[in-house]
C-alpha cells in the first residue's frame, strides 16, 4: 500500500514513503509543496494545467502515479527561471500579455519548453498543434502563440 520513492524535482531529491495511489500531481503539490503545477479538470487528463516534464518530456502529472516517477527527474514551472532570471518563454509571456488569470500558464510553459527543443523554429500552425493538450479559458491563444514564437526567435 505504501512505497518508498526517490523523486528529483528541479534538481532537489525527495525521499518519501507514499501511498501507491498518490497521483504525481498531488505529490508535487502536497508532498513537495510546489503549487505552481495546477489541476484544472479534476484530474481527467484533458486540460493540461498539470503538465510537467519527466526526464525532460512533457506529460500530464494527473495521469501518472507518483510511484511511476520513482527514480526519475521531474521539472516543474518553479525550476524554469535560473538564478533569478526568467526563462525566455516566461519573459515573452509577460511581454506579449499571454496570460490573464494564469491558471493554464505553468502547464503551457512546461509543454512549450520541451516543444521548442524539439522544434526550435516552429510555424504558427505547429505551435497551435503543440498546444492541443493545453486549454486556456481566458486568452483565446493568440498571444500565447505569439509569445512562443517570439521566445523561439529569442532563443535561436
Amino acid at each position: 500500500m505504501y512505497k518508498d520513492v526517490t523523486i528529483t524535482i528541479n534538481g532537489e531529491e525527495y525521499q518519501e514513503h507514499i501511498p501507491v495511489r498518490l497521483l504525481l500531481v498531488d505529490f508535487i503539490r502536497d508532498v513537495a509543496g510546489l503549487t505552481g503545477t495546477h489541476v484544472g479538470c479534476t484530474y481527467e487528463g484533458v486540460c493540461g494545467a498539470c503538465t510537467i516534464q519527466i526526464d525532460s518530456e512533457a506529460v500530464k502529472s494527473c495521469l501518472m502515479l507518483a510511484v511511476q516517477a520513482d527514480g526519475h527527474e521531474v521539472a516543474t514551472v518553479e525550476g524554469l527561471a535560473q538564478d533569478g532570471k526568467l526563462h525566455p518563454l516566461q519573459e515573452e509571456f509577460n511581454e506579449h500579455h499571454a496570460l490573464q488569470c494564469g491558471y493554464c500558464t505553468p502547464g503551457i510553459l512546461m509543454n512549450a519548453e520541451e516543444f521548442l527543443k524539439e522544434n526550435p523554429d516552429p510555424s504558427e500552425d505547429e505551435i497551435r498543434e503543440a498546444l492541443i493538450g493545453n486549454l486556456c479559458r481566458c486568452t483565446g491563444y493568440v498571444n500565447i502563440v505569439t509569445a512562443i514564437k517570439s521566445a523561439a526567435e529569442k532563443m535561436a
Binding site: M1, K3, P19, V20, R21, L23, T42, Y43, E44, G45, G48, T51, E57, A58, V59, K60, C62, L63, M64, L65, V67, Q68, D70, N111, F115, E129, A130, I132, G133, N134
Partner: protein, 294 residues
Amino acid sequence: MYPSVIDNYVRPKSVDEAIAAIVDGGEDAMFIAGGMSLMQAIKSRLVSPSCLVDLQDVSEIKGISSDDTGLRIGAMTRYREMANADKLRGAYGALVDAAAHVGDRQVRNRGTIGGSLCWNYIAACTPAACLGIGASVELVSRTGAKRTLVADDFLGSPLETAREDNEILVAVTLPTPEPNTGSAYKKWGLVADALPVVGVAVLVQTDAAGICLRARVAFSGLGDGPCRSAAAEQVLIGARADETSKIGEAFEAAAAELEVQADMWADEDYRRLLMRELGKEVTATAFNRAETGS
C-alpha cells in the same frame, strides 16, 4: 477522481519478470504501460487493480526493428516514436498518421501501441490502423508460451480482445511490405486530434501500372469495435487512383454494409457521411504512397 487503494506496485525489468509479477499479483493485478487509458479508468474506478505491474523498465519490448521477415514494434513503443518512424512510412504510413494525431503531445509522450491495442477503446486509432495494415500481435503467456494472432482475431468489441488474463502483449509485427504498397489513416473528431467519431484506415497494393491488386479497409469509432469492410475492399480491387467514382462506390458499400450507431456526437447518417468522405480522402493518400513510397 481519486484511485481507490492500490496494494502493490512493481517494476519488472524483463518479460519473464513481468509475467511472474502479474501472476504473483493475483486476480486483480494489471499491467500499466503509458497509463493514458488506465489512469482514467482507475480514477473513475471503472477498474480497481490491487497490484500494478509497471512495464516502463522492460526495455526488450521497446522500439521498432526490422529484419528480412518484416518489422517489429515493441509493445512499449510510444506514439511519439511511431509518429517519427521512417521505417513505417509508405506501406505502413497509416500507423504514422494514427500515432501522430493521438490526443496531444503530452499523451503521445507516454501512450504506447501495446496499451492502445490491449485497451481497444471504441474510439481508439491504433487498433483500426493495425487492422487496416494487416498487423499481427505477439503474446506471451504465464507458461512462457508465445502465440501470434492477426489483428482481426485479436481485436474484439470495444474494450475486448483475445488476450487471456496474465498474457502480455510483447510486439506488433508487420510483414516486409510488397512493392507499391501504401496506407493511410484519418479520423474526424469534435476538436483537433480528439478521439475519433469515425476514423478510416486504408491499405492498397498496386501493380506497376497503378491498378489495385490488394486492399484493406478498416474503421474506428463504430459500435462493434474496429472492423473491416469486405465490400469496400472488393470494390477497390482493380481500381486506379484516378477512378474517383469507383473509390466513392467502395465507401458507399462500406457505409451500407457496416452497422453504424447514433450517439451524442453523430447520428447514423452523419457517421455514414464521414465514412464515405474520409474513405475517399484516405484512399487517395494510400494510392499516392503506394506510388511514391513515402
